[in-house]
Amino acid sequence: MIAYIRKIFLSPASFFMATICLLLACNKDVTPIPDTPKGNIFFFNGSFALTGEINMPKSQTNFILMDSQDSTYHYNFYFGASKYPYFDQGYLYTYPYLKGQWPTYWQIPAGNHTFRLVDSSSSILDNTVVDLDARKPMAVVYADSCGIFRSLVAADDYSPVNGKMGLRIINMSPVDGQIFLTVNNEIQQTLPASTHMGDHTGFIPMDVSRQDTLSVKAFSVSDSSTVLGRTLLMVLPGHAYTLLMTGYSDNRSSSYVDPRTGNTVSLQSNFAITPLSNF
């Protein structure tokens, strides 16, 4: 036993070995704090019917229930944020808010989520499943065509390229027929010739050498003399943008019967191109 102790402790080599082992162990990289990966999501209200419901006859809140069917949920803003995203008169078109043309994001655990857009009577207007990736922000765009709701999920994934920008087109406008766009009054060959409701592209590379403001106009393929809508898009090389088309044009019937309530809803022209800066 004594010989063993002597062997272990009396050797200077043992001292040094123990010391070196301990010192080397100090230099290991840290283990990141375990945390659920989170993704960013943004909701856009392009629905004429939903906007009308929020505003009339009195202000109300339409929640987007996440992984829940608790249609009775409500909250008191005095004590913090809502558990679920929502549209109301404060967040009429987007949740969270837009800053300039930049979306901000709601942060939630990545993975599969079911979002249920409910109306004031707790009816589910839309049911969307999103596989949220922690590395890619996503956008959910809601729209309706004569009271029939639909949604589109777009993943914002872009790698900057010098001297180019990315341009994405999302068409959620219930306008009859096809729509095409001009940029600075020219049809861009790189963009789709025309789109209709539900169409969307990826970020299409376009040459841009400096900070610029682009004039974007939308036309119906059937009537290229009438501008449906227009917007200005501020661009910089190395960034990516979305042109989001929503709303009705003059080219439609003046009302429709709401399939949920049976009420007749008057329509107004509200075609819009919303420019979004994504990267």
């Binding site: 123990a18 704090i33 945390d35 944020a81 043309q101 901000t104 942060q107 900070q211 501020m234 990267f279």
Partner: protein
């Protein structure tokens, strides 16, 4: 029968005048028959006895010179049992009860390591009886005639040891273990000791220390290396608290007699130790590992030959000195701290040399940046991509499995002959790695106090919305390297030169996360100031200290009546915080989700990266000349000169939204698009969350086209100051021993000239754009008298009295307008250029008793009084309302001169062996007990509502930093034969004011109530245990447990200013709900129990 016989003989002998006749004889190793025959020859009496029976009674020694016959017979009777009867002129003698010889045995061991010493000689003085220890150090002397003896133990290379009063009884064994000190003087010559070429080293012993204290001028306390070895202490901070009247705060600063760290002066090997702290005037005692310390002496009363900048005490730390031997020892210590080691602790990825206490360049200042001290220059026009490359991307912390704390040390002693001179060397190297992690709780204001209500005065603030609760996690990973290189060149018996070098490099990687939320009743709505906030700190603090001293000691004259000592010193003290990263987040749940996101652009930025450097250099020179005019009278004169310079600088980089100038943080009032920079800023990038921190420092977030985040250099001239101090002192002191050396008078006069200069800047009313230069120039000349009287009626008793005037000068930190942000203690510290030097009058009285039969024992009792004019106190300037002084909810600390302070104290100390209690156990037990009782009062200034000192004087609270009592107790066991040492030590200091409020107990107006109260640091009852055991040869193992009672560190807000902790309790209010009333916890954390296992081996 024997008694009766003696009584008869006594009665008879009283009638015989011849019994007073003197007898002179001297025999050793003889027998009773021979002794009686000789007495018979010298005496007029006729002796009758049986020669054969008396011959069997052995006598080790029989020596009398002119002693009356009556006494000689009594002596012989007592030692041998002999009986005698006097009848007329005849004395009949017969042998008494048969006396059997006894045995003396024991073990001879080395003083320091308890390793056995084979071959040591043990001899009974005055006899030929002796022996040599066996190969395990044991000795045995059988057949020793009963009686009293003195044993002399000698061994080559060790000091001669004498044990007196050994009592050998008939048929009994007496056990005496002996600890041998190795040669303690440089006069001795190194001699090979048989097969062992090296010897162990003995440093100061308790007996030597007490002897030094007994002969000291003034009131001195101390601790020796012998006692240090019995404690579990790892560094000087832990050692020094064993000394009477000394307390240690924050684990590294000393408080003596209740006077806080700023009142104490530390000498390291004769030179003034620098202030090692960024935020305090104090020397960090934890920089010195216990393995290099020989002794610590605390001078509590002034003497003219000491620099007078102290009021509590001047503490002299002596590191181990070179010895005339060849020796090498090394040790390994492993330790576990509950809650810190052997578990996953928070940390971050720093540099690859962090474990040595050095940065590997990971945290270096970008090459495009002006230097840290060039505070008038800023970085401009650097693309974000360059910033990304120049600074570490690490902004998040993680966890790392923490191994046991470790200390490795090695000491090497040797000497070489250089012509007629001899060079002695001591090299000591220590490496220490420690981790300490705590969960820290902080609170301001009574628990759940309403925002509106009591305290809502109308001066300055209207609500208590600054009442917050914070929960923090923090972890410190320290790596320290100490190198001691002491060289002594002994030219001859008269002249000696020394070069002492001390180097410390201490690197501390610090990681913390602090989350703050409002301290208010539940159910109250949230307002803008009630966001929950979170601050993450990743830092690395490096302290590098080098102290070099070249000096000499020269004795001249045939009686060495002239002594000259000189000392030239240089100190380099660098403290740096390279790339301290601060990430400021807030709870986004008031907006949309539960993320912690970056705060909006602001003064500190979403991320701050600070580079701080504090460089102090000290040059000092001293000469002391002593002239021993007569043996009883000496004069001493000398000078001490210091030039000190300090440069402090901070480079402050902050991250805000891109596209701003360095100075911009607020939007122009006419630009509504400022917040999104006309559409070009990506707000999602500005709102990065805590989870994104690992990827934030990248071109994605910091784009060269200014669409995300930007880095700005916010450094301004307020981020630096320079200072210097010039000090010249001269003294003349006399020492006069009179009345047969029973009275020692010491008097002296010290002239000190000191000039402190400082140049800095502070912000004017319009922020950084309106700088105010601050220049301080404080020249001062003072004459400081001191007088000490010691009365020594015998060798065992000393009575002392002393008076002396000293000073307490402000530190540069206390004078500068520069703001320091202490993220470990959540304090914002700002100096006060108006602080002046405090003048202290000190009075001391002490009685000391040194028992003659044990040189390790002492008992002393003393009293002291101090009057301080303009005491410098640490102050808390803060209100409960956020509209005044809100800065990350930090506590605002500054300094002030109060008008005066008076301090009265009593102190006592006992060091006592328990061997007087029967039983073998008690023979090896000793106790150390010391304590102080102190009372202090202050007179302070009044303040008006704008925080300006006015001319009103009012009664203040006790002196800031002063404890009303200090108690140290220790029970020690030592068995040299087994090589076992054990100790249980206890330490407590009473509650002390950590920082004083500008409000006092007398300020009772409603408008005063919003001013935050005193911060009171509560006592910690520290109980430590340590046991040291020699395993084999000179391998020793030491196991210790510190903080056995698992005490918490606590500071409370003393709401009723009574310097006593009155815990909060619920009290029903006359017109409203029940509220918590009492003293709330301000800071609390548990350092945890600390378990240490140490192995030391001497080669």
């Amino acid at each position: 029968m024997c008694v009766l016989w003696m009584l008869i003989t006594g009665d008879v002998s009283a009638q015989s005048p011849a019994l007073t006749a003197p007898v002179t004889l001297s025999f050793t190793n003889t027998n009773l028959a021979v002794v009686i025959a000789e007495i018979d020859r010298q005496s007029d009496f006729a002796f009758t006895y049986d020669k054969a029976s008396l011959s069997s009674v052995k006598m080790a020694a029989a020596t009398w010179k002119g002693v009356p016959l009556k006494s000689v017979l009594a002596d012989i009777s007592r030692t041998t049992g002999m009986m005698y009867e006097i009848s007329g002129n005849t004395i009949a003698v017969k042998a008494g009860r048969q006396q059997h010889p006894g045995t003396l045995r024991g073990r001879v061991v080395d003083f320091e390591t308890s390793s056995p010493l084979p071959g040591a000689t043990v001899k009974l003085e005055g006899t030929t009886t002796g022996t040599i220890t066996d190969n395990r150090g044991f000795y045995q002397l059988p057949n020793v005639t009963p009686g009293k003896y003195t044993a002399v133990i000698t061994f080559i290379g060790y000091q001669r040891n004498v044990i007196a009063n050994i009592n050998i009884e008939s048929d009994r064994q007496a056990v005496y273990d002996v600890k041998m000190q190795s040669g303690g003087s440089l006069k001795e010559v190194v001699v090979d000791a048989g097969p062992r070429k090296v010897k162990s080293v003995t440093h100061s012993t308790e007996a030597q220390l007490l002897e030094e204290i007994r002969h000291a001028t003034g009131v001195v306390s101390g601790i020796s290396n012998e006692l240090i070895a019995k404690t579990p202490d790892r560094n000087a901070a832990e050692i020094v608290k064993r000394i009477s009247g000394v307390t240690v705060v924050d684990d590294r600063f000393i408080v003596v007699r209740g006077m806080n760290e700023r009142y104490n002066l530390t000498f390291l090997n004769g030179s003034i130790a620098p202030s090692t702290e960024l935020y305090n005037k104090a020397f960090a005692y934890d920089l010195l590992p216990s393995s290099v310390i020989d002794k610590i002496l605390v001078y509590k009363s002034p003497v003219a030959d000491l620099v007078a900048d102290y009021a509590g005490a001047a503490v002299k730390i002596s590191t181990k000195n070179a010895m005339p031997i060849k020796h090498f020892d090394m040790g390994l210590q492993l330790a576990h701290r509950e809650g810190s080691t052997l578990q996953n602790s928070m940390s971050y990825n720093g540099g690859k040399y962090d474990f040595l206490g050095f940065d590997d360049g990971t945290r270096k200042l970008p090459s495009f940046s002006p230097g840290i001290f060039e505070s008038n220059r800023q970085v401009t026009n650097v693309p974000q991509s360059e910033w990304m490359k120049a600074l570490s991307p690490v902004l998040s912390y993680g966890t790392r499995y923490t191994l046991p704390d470790m200390q490795v040390f090695a000491n090497y002693y040797n000497s070489w002959k250089l012509g007629k001179a001899r060079l002695y060397d001591l090299t000591a190297i220590t490496y220490t790695k420690e981790t300490a992690g705590y969960d820290v709780y902080r609170q301001k204001g009574n628990t759940e106090a309403p925002i509106i209500g009591k305290g809502s005065g109308n001066a300055g603030g209207s609500v208590q919305d600054n009442n917050k609760i914070a929960n923090g996690k923090q972890s410190s990973e320290n790596a320290k390297i100490n190198i001691l290189e002491n060289l002594t060149l002994k030219l001859n018996d008269h002249h000696e030169l020394f070069l002492r070098n001390f180097f410390v490099n201490d690197g501390r990687r610090f990681t913390s996360e602090n989350t703050t939320h409002p301290n208010q009743p539940p159910g109250v709505g949230l307002i803008i100031n009630e966001y929950r906030t979170r601050d993450i700190v990743l830092s690395f603090q490096r302290r590098m200290l080098y102290a070099g001293n070249l000096g000499g000691k020269h004795e001249m004259g045939h009686n060495k009546q002239h002594e000259l000592e000189w000392n030239l010193g240089y100190t380099y003290d660098l403290q740096s915080l390279p790339d301290q990263r601060l990430i400021h987040l807030y709870d986004y749940s008031l907006m949309t989700d539960t993320s912690w996101r970056a705060v909006p652009s602001g003064y500190l930025g979403m991320i701050s990266r600070l580079f701080i450097k504090n460089l102090e250099q000290v040059y000092n020179g001293a000469i002391d000349y002593t002239f021993h005019i007569r043996p009883e009278f000496s004069l001493k004169a000398g000078t001490y000169n210091i030039f000190k310079s300090r440069q402090v600088g901070r480079r402050f980089f902050r991250v805000n939204r891109a596209g701003l100038s360095n100075a911009d943080i607020n939007p122009p009032t006419d630009d509504g698009e400022w917040y999104n920079d006309h559409g070009f800023i990506n707000s999602a990038l500005l709102q990065f969350s805590q989870q994104d921190l690992h990827k934030v420092w990248s071109p994605t977030y910091f784009n060269n086209d200014n669409t995300g985040l930007g880095v700005y250099d916010a450094t301004t001239p307020v981020d630096a100051y320079v200072a210097s101090e010039q000090y010249h002192a001269f003294y003349l002191m006399g020492d006069w021993k009179t009345a047969g050396e029973k009275l020692v008078l010491n008097g002296g006069l010290r002239l000190e000239y000191d000039r402190q200069r400082l140049s800095g800047a502070r912000e004017g009313n319009n922020g950084p754009q309106s700088l105010q230069p601050i220049n301080v120039d404080h020249p001062q000349t003072l004459l400081l008298p001191s007088a000490n009287i010691s009365y020594l009626p015998g060798k065992t008793f000393v009575l002392r009295g002393s008076y002396g005037r000293t000073v307490n000068r402000p530190d540069f930190r206390e004078l500068t307008p520069y703001n320091d942000f202490d993220f470990q203690n959540n304090e914002n510290i700002q100096g006060n250029p108006k602080i002046v030097t405090a003048i202290v009058d000190n009075y001391d009285f002490r009685a000391e008793l040194y028992p003659a039969n044990n040189k390790n024992e002492v008992l002393n009792v003393g009293a002291f009084y101090k009057h301080i004019q303009n005491p410098i106190e640490r102050m808390r300037r803060e209100t409960s309302a956020s509209d005044y002084g809100l800065f990350l909810n930090f506590t605002n600390i500054t300094y002030i001169n109060s008008v005066s302070a008076d301090i009265y104290g009593l102190e006592a100390e006992i060091k006592k062996s328990l061997s007087f209690i029967p039983g073998n156990l008690f023979r090896n037990l000793s106790v150390v007990l010391n304590g102080s009782l102190i009372k202090s009062t202050t007179v302070t200034h009044g303040f008006n509502a704008s925080y300006v000192i006015d001319s009103i004087h009012k009664k203040g609270e006790p002196l800031q930093g002063q404890s009303p009592y200090v108690v140290n107790a220790g029970l020690f066991y030592e068995n040299p034969s087994w090589g076992t040492k054990a100790g249980v030590v206890y330490n407590v200091s009473g509650p002390r004011i950590y920082a004083k409020s500008q409000r006092t107990k007398e300020d009772t107006l409603y408008t005063d109530s919003y001013i935050r109260p005193d911060l009171l640091q509560l006592p910690m009852h520290l109980l430590d245990f340590s046991v040291t055991q020699r395993i084999i040869k000179s391998l020793q193992a030491k196991f210790s447990i510190q903080n056995l009672l698992d005490q918490s560190y606590r500071i409370v807000e003393d709401q009723n200013f009574n310097q006593h902790y009155d815990p909060e309790k619920l009290v029903k209010q006359p017109s409203g709900p029940a509220l918590m009333v009492g003293d709330n916890i301000y800071t609390k954390y548990k350092p945890g129990r600390y378990f240490l296992l140490q192995f030391t081996y001497s080669f």
